[in-house]
Symmetry: C2
Subunit: 554 residues, 2 copies
């Protein structure tokens, strides 16, 4: 089997101007970054109005550690629309550099469903992550500098909520002490780095309507408390203007293409637990305004990524998908049925039957939003016909649309059936219904999501979380949407509980206030905001060849 990098050598990208011309984007609004990437000026966006294509959301069942091919399916589906001569545009998240160098490899699809140029997209791309890193860390430097120069605001160094970030998997930076070395080197205090995708600046950039809105979000960001326990906001540090300067170009969405010339806006990459997990609002709007079909994705399983897509992104940005695709795999369902993770390739109809409960739950979850999903079975070479038939039969029994896809091996052709089913499904969908009203008490909002999405019986709050709730009330932020951070590998808050867990209670341990992004982060367990490198990181396989090709990046 050819590697992704080898497959990519078979395709020559078309000049990016051809791609943007096909979308009807004025050349004046195009800023090329090399020959096959461009940033598109926000002037090409007609506010919330303008032509509106149908929006298709791609989500998934609860994933295995290696993922179920959600991004690859999204790209394959886009290519299928292109094959059908439909006007289509993708809206995807940007990969983070840190994980590419660590465990994960790239995030640009795979096989014959990839976006290109994968090497540049996976590494620095157009510098958006670097710009977010710089803006985040300017605020950090300004906080410590303010304290150093007399601390007029009385910032309490023990209560600084704003952490530094770096786009690198570096566990040694999680917990550090800064400002050592005596009077001229700063004020000693505890601090630490998160990975850049976890920066609230990332979430703000992805939710902002425009520059004005982003500036407002930056200004209202909570950076900590003073010695009187009063909040300190970013606006008080006098650097949000400079942060905007640093973010100016990062606000523009990046246009690339798939192997088959399907246009793709790839822009923004927030986490799908501590943040809302989808590409920027600006990129989604840009795709919808320039194509009849806009296809986007939400991170992790439907319970995590898609819930936030609806309750946070769609609510804030006034979006509403016309179709929902639920990607699943025989492998994942067998794992949910109890089969060992290292033995998912052999046929096991019993485990598969058992694991279908996970699919059932996600289908029900989609319907809670007033939508009717299309189940896309991302077929692997090891899947048997009997296994595929079992999943198909369950969908038919539930009255749910189903399509098998082979886009990894076959490119867009492998998803043409899926594309047709998706196009047909839009008639069945009504306007979406959020899971909770914003004016409910925070506890009730959390309970609503945990019961409806995760299948929990109830929710418990630790003392720490109750204390945090008082802060939320003090700051008058109880009407924000909630962003629950939970283990992605289970519907419950216990990462080891597979399938469709029942009879469990979710424990809320902490609540973080993302006043700038505009949501409350509800932490149900230990969520890693700064990954570490494995013993043999992906980076150790990478080489820059004389041809300029980077090997080992996949």
């Amino acid at each position: 089997m050819a590697t992704d990098v080898e497959i990519a050598q078979q395709f020559t990208p078309r000049p990016i101007t051809e791609i943007s011309d096909a979308l009807g984007i004025d050349r004046e609004h195009l800023h090329p970054y090399g020959r096959d990437i461009a940033k598109i000026d926000l002037k090409a966006l007609n506010g919330k109005s303008g032509k509106k294509g149908h929006l298709i959301l791609v989500s998934a069942t609860t994933p295995t550690p290696s993922g179920e091919g959600k991004t690859t399916t999204t790209i394959g589906l886009g290519q299928a629309f292109t094959q059908l001569n439909e006007s289509v545009c993708l809206a995807l998240r940007e990969p983070s550099l840190g994980p590419c160098l660590g465990m994960k490899g790239g995030a640009t699809g795979g096989g014959y469903s990839q976006i290109i140029p994968a090497d540049r997209i996976n590494l620095h791309f157009t510098g958006d992550f670097h710009a977010i890193t710089s803006a985040n860390n300017l605020l950090s430097a300004a906080i410590d500098n303010h304290i150093f120069h007399g601390n007029q605001l009385g910032i309490d160094p023990r209560q600084i909520a704003w952490r530094r970030v770096m786009d690198m998997n570096d566990r040694s930076l999680r917990k550090i002490v800064v400002g050592l070395g005596g009077k001229n080197q700063g004020i000693p205090r505890e601090g630490g780095f998160d990975i850049t995708a976890a920066s609230e600046v990332m979430a703000m950039l992805c939710l902002a309507d425009n520059a004005e809105d982003l500036k407002r979000r930056l200004d209202r960001t909570l950076v900590g408390y003073n010695y009187q326990n009063e909040p300190v906001y970013a606006a008080q540090l006098d650097v949000t203007g400079a942060m905007m300067a640093l973010l100016r170009d990062a606000m523009q969405p990046n246009l690339v293409q798939s192997f088959e010339g399907t246009p793709a806006f790839v822009h923004g990459g927030p986490f799908a637990n501590i943040a809302h997990g989808c590409n920027s609002v600006i990129a989604t709007r840009m795709a919808m305004q320039h194509a009849d079909w806009a296809i986007t994705e939400a991170g992790f399983g439907f319970d995590l990524g898609a819930e936030k897509f609806f309750d946070i992104k769609c609510r804030i940005a006034e979006l509403d998908p016309d179709a929902v695709v639920l990607v699943t795999t025989v492998r994942a369902l067998k794992m949910h049925g109890g089969k060992a993770k290292d033995n998912l390739e052999s046929e096991d109809l019993e485990a598969l039957q058992q694991g279908l409960g996970n699919l059932d739950k996600h289908i029900e979850s989609v319907e809670l939003f007033n939508k009717h999903p299309v189940v896309a079975l991302n077929r692997f070479a090891s899947d048997t016909d009997a296994e595929v038939a079992l999943v198909r039969a369950r969908c038919i029994a539930l009255g749910v649309s189903f399509a098998e896809t082979t886009h990894h091996a076959d490119g867009g052709k492998g998803s043409v059936e899926l594309a047709k089913v998706v196009m047909a499904s839009i008639k069945k969908n009504s306007p979406f219904q959020p899971l909770y009203d914003l004016d409910l008490p925070v506890v009730e909002k959390v309970r609503a999501v945990c019961k409806a999405m995760y299948g929990a019986d109830d929710v418990a709050f630790t003392k720490d979380a109750e204390q945090d709730l008082k802060h939320v009330e003090m700051l008058g932020l109880t009407d924000l949407p909630i962003c629950i951070a939970k283990a992605p590998s289970s519907l419950s808050d216990d990462p080891e509980l597979h399938g469709r867990p029942r009879g469990f209670e979710v424990t809320v341990r902490q609540i973080q206030i993302n006043a700038g992004a505009g949501f409350l982060v509800i932490l149900t367990g230990k969520i890693m905001r700064m990954p570490g490198l494995p013993k043999k990181p992906a980076a150790s396989n990478m080489q820059l060849m004389e041809s300029g090709i980077i090997e080992g990046l996949e």
Copy 2:
């Protein structure tokens, strides 16, 4: 007086393809970054051969804290060559983001002698600094990760020489403790961040001939010692291939233009004390191979930047300037004559006369390299005719070419006289003579520079420095060139000694081994590798306007 940003509004950059066409660069080798910036493929470079333009080095007398306008003079001189219809190309350093946000403002010239687009060049530009940051910090993460996963190499955490970097003025990161939080969070140890310009990766990228050479340099970089006090090199951490992948695009020089359409390669920005202080070898070669006149600069005064330009860069890269410009100002010379820094605008012929000693010394220093300088007096509005006449008279008395320039107010026209004098000067110059032979003992190399360039009587080594020397000998690196880090504000190692100090001794406090860059850093005092922000940083004045223009960045 209009601000630099206001002046820039008067100029519309030409498409960068027009600039590259004029240089004869194949469009195939052009990678646009927006409409007015491009990276140029290394394929456009013909190794060390190919057409060779005359190389002009711009250096300066000992600067005041606000600088003497060396970059502005370099740009103005380039514009003058353009005015004279000469084929010309600039090779300049890239600004660092941190200082732009801190004290200094931008570094793209001023008045009517600027390179554009200044806002992008001063902020993220094409991401070179970010790529260097990522490559540097990947190595850091790999070191701590190696220790975390069993430390097979036996790296001694107390003897790690490789620091993390960030392109931000953040004094709180100078001295930190990393790896806190218990067994799963890393190994606690002392560490710290330098600013990105101080990364050895920057120096390596700027001295490398090509990708192969850069890889070799990365591999041989000394990162620390094991418990047996044996050296550990970067190659042993298995990430130099990935570092190369991260640096692939950063190796390509960036092409921009001045107000008057003079092409400029702006690439690489190492410090001029702890590193060699000039733009990349690749950019200098690229300028020389595509124009009859290539104009470049070296950081700080002649004693620091130009000495390293000759003894490190020219020696390694086999370059040899055909002309040397020594920029000076009446203001700086008055300061060197004892006039107070806040009172340099009023006429003071006595202080000026006294301060001419500084100019004398730098002229003598140029001649030590077998070159004959042209003194360029960068005229300020407050300079009186009598003051200018005094400097001119001194140059005439010394038999040195002189030209007054007004490029800040007048653009290229203001440097036409200088350009003509420079063109005439090339006949007088012989091949350059380095200050020391590489096979001299390290102490003798240091003594040679301190006596000849700084005017010291002698050199003393502290016990620490002598200990460091033993390490250098142990590693067999005594034949490397030296890179002396010294206060830029004085010819001596005492920052307060202005004019032409005599009868002083230079104290060497520490020697750092930059085995990758290929030089020994000789530290003569406390050199700040991570600046701090002032009470009111430049960032606090910046705003992104609705037009997309960034105000306050100058």
